[in-house]
Point group: C3
Chain length 138, copies 3
């Protein structure tokens, strides 16, 4: 069994941002040399998400508005967590979007359907944060 | 290490439908010959879900009503994604329900609690769509 | 390839409770002897969750209030599932929080970011319920 590990670092300019990380994960799969296996991609921070969906800007705007409706950023005082922080909403938004994805590797490639793309979802950005890629297989 | 891959195809009659795919996944596990390992089951489309819950029709109706409240289908114009499409709500509903499940395989079987069943959740159906089953182990 | 399996049992005093199970999972990783691999931790019941977030009591109160807003427990009659049961809300709450987490194992340890902790999320407690830990790797 082979295993592979890599950290991907991000520093967004805005509090909330979606970044298509598919090419970075594809490079990890190539570097790993794994032909058949599983690829775990997870946010290492609890106010960020890794998820799979469509690379379509209109949909990303819909996500932004929808998440603000489900778990609004302000007023900060509505959340107990916001004593010394202001990011309780980011914990909730990341919960809706999910921490991680597990993707099959088949024949040395991410085994994707027609429109699947992997995104880093940042909900409390403007600082260095990490994503973990872990691959096991043969 | 053994690996196994299979696509399961679905074509629902309605826009939204839940299908119990547990027997199909159990057959994959048997075919794989894997006794100890992990089984990934994921929607290959971004408007569908694979999730684990109870096979109880009342609960499925509750899911339908609840998802329509959290991410209503209509009016279509409320979503930016719906320029050439009408399925933005399906992207959001699938996000709530999740893209994938990872299930342990122990002693050649899906290692389930008492009521766990795997469902395909379709939110933009009436066309051919796929689920991926990938198994690794020994 | 090595594999490892353990059930963790819980019996909460309240209907809803969050329990930090990170030390228990760390012990599983040690017992497994796996140095590089994947660790699946999943609720075996469909009204409970395993998720990763911050071990901060204020945030946990925020989760409780937020989940009650998204999927209120009462009135019980609002859910079709509640014919002979009263736990439809628990099925919905667990869906938001997620059934499982997959965590990388690197160098014999859970490969975590700075604040990641694993929680058992109980939404229909006061009885014996289980979590499954399954580890594969080398």
């Amino acid at each position: 069994m082979k295993s592979y590990r890599k950290e991907l670092w991000f520093h967004t300019r805005k509090r909330r941002e979606f970044i298509n990380i598919t090419p970075l994960v594809e490079e990890c799969v190539r570097e790993s040399g794994v032909k058949e296996g599983l690829c775990l991609v997870n946010a290492m921070h609890i106010t960020a998400s890794v998820f799979i969906n469509d690379d379509e800007p209109g949909l990303h705007n819909d996500f932004e508005r929808w998440l603000e409706k489900l778990a609004p950023e302000k007023p900060y005082s509505q959340y107990e967590h916001n004593g010394f922080e202001d990011n309780a909403d980011a914990h909730l938004k990341r919960t809706v979007m999910g921490r991680e994805v597990v993707v099959a590797i088949t024949d040395g490639k991410l085994d994707f359907g027609p429109w699947e793309q992997i995104f880093y979802g940042e909900f409390d950005g403007m600082r260095d944060k990490r994503v973990l890629v872990k691959i096991i297989g043969e």
